[in-house]
């Protein structure tokens, strides 16, 4: 009854793509225009919080190893934390600027969890390559929200964060064994084994 792992990865890839599009839209038009409608302001943090909630079933149902379970738990919690902090700031429930550090922290912790949970080298396989690439993208991408904390109006950092999430999304779409999104393009992608 469990969906194949790649389907779950594509679901989250879609979530990150939507998140990236929201952030890209905000970076292009600027905070003032983007926040003119309240629902638009709440859209991306709510999406991030929701993705965190959806990660819990992945953690508890895909228990083929301890490290796999722990890594998914870390992603669930950091996404919920970052989404909740942004929502709290927007709503005026949180005031300290330090709460803005939750987003870079979430990306950094997620990146580290990705790198730790992949024990093979970069070129061992497609999945290993993608896990390393995802880990480093998240880790380096954490710099953008960190810079936003100090320069909130700089659109370039906002665009950088959005593009980081686009890359994360593309890598997640490419992930796993029988990914027809890329795998069907070449017989070199190997035969599906499921």
């Amino acid at each position: 009854m469990q969906p194949p792992a790649e389907h779950v990865h594509w679901l989250f890839a879609t979530g990150f793509l939507l998140l990236a599009l929201c952030l890209l839209g905000r970076a292009i038009v600027g905070d003032e225009v983007w926040n003119r409608r309240a629902w638009r302001a709440y859209l991306w943090p709510s999406l991030l919080f929701g993705l965190g909630i959806l990660m819990w079933p992945v953690m508890v149902f895909f228990t083929n190893s301890t490290i796999h379970m722990l890594a998914h738990g870390a992603w669930a919690q950091t996404m919920m934390l970052a989404g909740a902090a942004e929502l709290g700031l927007l709503r005026g429930k949180l005031h300290a600027r330090a709460w803005r550090l939750c987003l870079p922290l979430a990306l950094a912790v997620s990146g580290v969890a990705l790198l730790i949970h992949e024990q093979n080298g970069w070129y061992f396989s497609r999945a290993a390559f993608l896990h390393h690439a995802l880990g480093w993208t998240a880790l380096l991408g954490a710099l953008f929200p960190l810079l936003i904390v100090f320069r909130p109006r700089a659109r370039a950092w906002g665009a950088g964060l959005a593009l980081t999430l686009v890359v994360v999304s593309v890598l997640l779409y490419s992930d796993r064994d029988v990914a027809p999104v890329f795998g069907h393009l070449s017989p070199l992608a190997g035969e599906p084994h499921r």
Binding site: I53, M69, R126, A128, V178, A189
Partner: protein, 432 residues
């Protein structure tokens, strides 16, 4: 740059047959199943080729006797098999290790039964049973449940309406700590149980297959409770964010409902003599304890620093609720004690009885403390007399005793009750 791009594209297009660690796809005998005849071989199939390690598959009897021979591998290296001597009726444990194509060792454990039900993986041969760390983690779990369920219950049943900014902040901090704690400690409890069942060194445990454990009664409770409390966390957060306290109602009911996971996976559900009534009694016992201890914590840390009229009102209302909770707690507790300790002498002859005696001593202390509040402090407050300065310390003291009771309960839950006496056959059967 082009070179880097080319490498990236090549990596995307590479065959992915060995993209992850080997995963056990099926076994013969099927894990967790009963079979009627002894197998001659135990086989394990993987989703990719594996290398055989020394003692890759070991089959143990109930007493921990090794019953398997030398491990062989299939021609495609996706299966490993081990011959076993003829297995008589009983429960058996299979511990396995295999090296994936990437060189990493994956390992796991499963059980099967010959002419009887397979023992749960948590009772696999070699598993040591609950440790001190597991007792402490279970205690922490009870405490987080008390903070969550008791906090929400207190807010909805005892003190309705807004508490002011400081009171609201303290309330959400305690309840938030409860729900996050329930999630974190739940994961820790599951991993500790898995570590005990798998009996692997730490690095191997990181790659240990947890799926057989997730299929046990304990694992199912972990899955359901983790998902449930993630939902409760979202509801509590939304209530805080939007100031809609009606969202606390579904959070409270779900938190209370999902606490039944413990009752449906513990002694009251699995041991001999258990029934829906014992499961219900266990859940009522746990819920009443959580509401009582969590309510005391709310009263001492959230309400007492607020204005005196609110303290008075909250104390009187909680006192009424606590009376009901104590009745439920005692009623369910006495029923469960009689069920698990059929003979009075078990109280001093059995280890389980000793822990129960300690718990009963602490319960008596808490009851005396609560009675002092009920019969000495409450009438004063009803008369409108000024509040005594020592009440907050006294409330904290009662909370501390409540927490100590939860520790005794944690040890009790992890202990094995004495075996139930064999039921005599009824007269009609005897005559036949």
């Amino acid at each position: 740059m082009r070179r880097l791009l080319a490498v990236a594209l090549l990596a995307l297009a590479l065959p992915a047959a060995a993209s992850a660690h080997a995963t056990l796809t099926w076994t013969d005998p099927v894990y967790g199943k009963r079979i009627e005849r002894s197998p001659s071989v135990v086989r394990l199939h993987f989703d990719q080729s594996v290398d055989v390690l020394p003692n890759a598959v070991r089959v143990y009897g109930a007493q921990g006797r090794l019953l398997s021979g030398r491990t062989r591998t299939s021609s495609d290296k996706r299966a490993i098999a081990v011959p076993v001597s003829r297995l008589p009726r009983g429960g058996y444990t299979v511990r396995w290790r295999a090296a994936s194509a990437d060189g990493h060792v994956v390992s796991g454990v499963f059980t099967f039964g010959v002419s009887m039900r397979a023992p749960p993986v948590t009772a696999a041969a070699g598993a040591g049973g609950p440790t001190t760390a597991e007792h402490l983690v279970r205690w922490l779990y009870f405490l987080t449940l008390a903070l969550l369920v008791g906090g929400l219950g207190f807010r909805l049943l005892v003190v309705r309406g807004r508490l002011g900014e400081a009171g609201q902040r303290r309330f959400y901090l305690l309840v938030g700590a409860g729900v996050i704690g329930a999630l974190e400690v739940g994961v820790l409890a599951f991993l500790l149980r898995a570590e005990d069942a798998l009996q692997l060194p730490f690095v191997d445990f990181l790659y240990g297959d947890l799926s057989p454990l997730a299929k046990t009664r304990f694992g199912t409770a972990f899955v359901v409770m983790t998902l449930g409390y993630a939902l409760v966390a979202a509801l509590v957060f939304l209530a805080w964010l939007t100031d809609r306290e009606r969202l606390l109602w579904p959070a409270f009911l779900l938190a209370l409902g999902f606490a039944s996971g413990l009752s449906l996976s513990g002694h009251s559900a699995a041991d001999a003599g258990s029934s829906w009534l014992s499961e219900l009694a266990d859940w009522l016992h746990l819920s009443a304890a959580a509401l009582w201890v969590g309510g005391l914590v709310q009263l001492a840390f959230v309400i007492w620093p607020l204005e005196p009229s609110l303290r008075r009102q909250a104390f009187l209302r909680f006192s009424r609720l606590a009376t009901v909770l104590i009745v439920v707690l005692l009623g369910a507790g006495i029923y469960l004690s009689i069920l698990r300790l059929p003979h009075l002498a078990d109280l001093w002859n059995e280890g389980y009885g000793h822990v129960l005696l300690v718990k009963l001593g602490l319960v008596s202390l808490a009851l005396a403390w609560g009675a002092a509040h009920h019969f000495l402090v409450r009438p004063r407050l009803e008369r409108g007399a000024p509040l005594l300065a020592g009440i907050p310390r006294s409330l904290m003291g009662e909370s501390a005793v409540g927490m100590a009771i939860l520790l005794a309960a944690a040890v009790l839950v992890d202990s094995k009750p004495p075996p139930q006496p064999v039921q005599p056959l009824n007269a009609s059967v005897e005559q036949r």
